[in-house]
Point group: C2
Chain length 353, copies 2
């Protein structure tokens, strides 16, 4: 499988036109298309361009509102609760981030939650929005499919609810944590199965709580939460903050969007913005982050470890490389995009301009 | 080793008098003593009464300020930054929680950070303070000794920086997560060594990154962060939020309070309060938490699993049991408290009233 590099601006245009063809108003199509391209730019390939087809399927099935009236249903100086009106999550959470930034400028911190949102792509896209405004951004989301039972249980009542935190630095790459609360993502399990390899200990367990190593038996077990019962607790807390608090789906209410294209997902997400200038000099803070980054990177290393990485450093590198060289897409994905383009009377991704 | 149960009120009085004997003003001694007793009440025995002796050692060495002027050094409507003036962490973080609650009532959410604080006991004590006011409480702290290298590294530059989140329920126990970002706490390693048992896979690794199973070799390795590099990322983020943001110690600046009684620790902590009433009806939220709790608890279970627990459920049970039956203290700890009492001309813990 070879990768083909598409110039970033070209990918943005393709995705924006594609979303317009699916029926989104032009301005909204640009927002969603650009965020999907940005996900791909930073290497979040599981949440980027590949989602075009499932989004298209859901839109055509009537499962998402193409012209949502996103509105504030509760508000105080430092918070707001948004009703996403079943619009695409990208639109709802961009609005949430903008509102959180605006309120944090006044109050120092602000929290904006949403209900009746939808899948919004990688968590870090939204944690980065306050970060670009000299703030710390945090993002919490309820995943759109339950993969985790409570610790000791067998019923899959929890998703791998992700959390992302983005912290700006001065000269160094920003620190951007973006993690699910399971040891491995489900995509990694599928990749091992395709290669015919066994999984490392700790990725999955079976219904007896014993290690499950054969990815072909993945259906017989569960992903392991990080730190065992601790990851179960984290997934639950993220779900309470992003789902239950907002009156969004949580637990058995979560709709598996892999197998249901029509039921309103009532997806919940939340964003927190912390304005650095409220705490003191912004550049002094960023310089402290730089110093810490350099200290961690300079640590003596284990044998065979070439470099110590900071969270988000590799995706920042991909952002720079791919902006310069184009965004790599697997040829199999390009074929799917070409087929989509043909079906929707629009130029192919390699031809659009 | 047998446990002796001390009535809760009696333990509160003993600890308060002990702190007064160490030189704290009477009102402050009560705050600290009561919080230390409360830690013990809920079973946080590593952060409760056992800390009296190390606190006494540091106070006598001049390492903490007995009459701190805790003051706000930056403030906006939804945030404040406190200078703890090197006072006991319990005093600083109780003040921080009160301020966060007050501000969250107005803004909906509020964040209060602190620098020049000190060890404050278990994280959950402070996350619970907003919870008792119909809010969600979150607490972040930089630990007072570095036990973790960055992922792939050998230099211990990070602590097991804990996080706690407390969410009130209606009829069910509140959900209270209180976790360090390592798989096992160091105390558990010591306990295995004392019993002559091997550690489970995943608790520690050696300097080659290989599993370390013999707790007697603990000095040759490191605690494992939960989920490997994910836990490293979490420990770093918690440290950025609780330390770096506040201008408190982080990375190599952290003072190991086990081996240094005099240097100002400049401990950093932070608390976030989210007022439930800003999002909608408080009882409706709590009812949703109850429903979720019941759903998780009712999950089908793995063989040999008697019950599915929610985070904080067992410590809530201990709070109730120990309030009724007295707080169990190991006889070896009672002996130390008796010695402390004799040296400080105060009644013993079994005699105070």
């Amino acid at each position: 499988m070879t990768d083909i590099r598409i110039p970033y601006a070209q990918l943005q245009r393709f995705m924006s036109v594609a979303m317009e063809r699916l029926g989104l108003p032009s301005a909204d199509a640009s927002v969603v298309g650009n965020l999907m391209a940005e996900a791909e730019l930073q290497g979040s390939d599981g949440h980027g361009v590949i989602r075009l087809l499932p989004y298209a399927r859901r839109i055509k099935a009537g499962g998402m509102n193409l012209t949502p009236q996103i509105k504030i249903t509760s508000e105080r100086a430092g918070m707001a609760l948004l009703d996403g009106d079943n619009g695409m999550g990208h639109l709802v959470m961009k609005r949430a981030a903008e509102l959180a930034i605006e309120k944090a400028r006044v109050c120092g911190v602000a929290w904006v939650g949403a209900h009746h949102s939808n899948h919004a792509g990688p968590a870090s896209l939204y944690a980065r929005m306050p970060m670009m405004e000299n703030m710390i951004g945090m993002y919490f989301a309820v995943g759109n499919a339950n993969h985790l039972p409570p610790w000791g249980g067998l019923d899959m009542l929890l998703s791998t609810n992700p959390i992302s935190v983005a912290v700006p630095a001065l000269h160094e790459s920003p620190i951007v944590l973006d993690m699910a609360t399971t040891v491995a993502a489900y995509g990694k399990v599928k990749a091992k199965a395709m290669k015919g390899e066994m999984m490392p200990l700790g990725w999955m367990m079976d219904r007896l709580g014993q290690p499950l190593l054969d990815p072909k038996r993945a259906d017989e077990g569960f992903l392991m939460p990080i730190g065992g019962y601790k990851g179960y607790g984290l997934a639950l807390i993220v779900g309470l903050l992003a789902g239950t608090l907002n009156g969004a789906a949580m637990g058995s209410e979560v709709i598996d969007f892999n197998h249901d294209d029509t039921t309103t997902t009532n997806t919940g997400q939340a964003i927190l913005a912390i304005d650095l200038s409220a705490f003191g000099d912004v550049d002094a803070f960023k310089a402290r982050v730089d110093k810490l980054v350099q200290e961690l990177r300079s640590s003596e290393r284990m044998p065979d470890v070439d470099r110590i990485w900071l969270p988000g450093e590799q995706s920042q590198q991909r952002r720079m490389d791919n902006t310069r060289d184009g965004v790599p897409l697997p040829s199999t994905l390009i074929e799917k995009l070409d087929q989509f383009a043909a079906e929707h009377a629009m130029p192919a991704v390699r031809e659009v301009n």
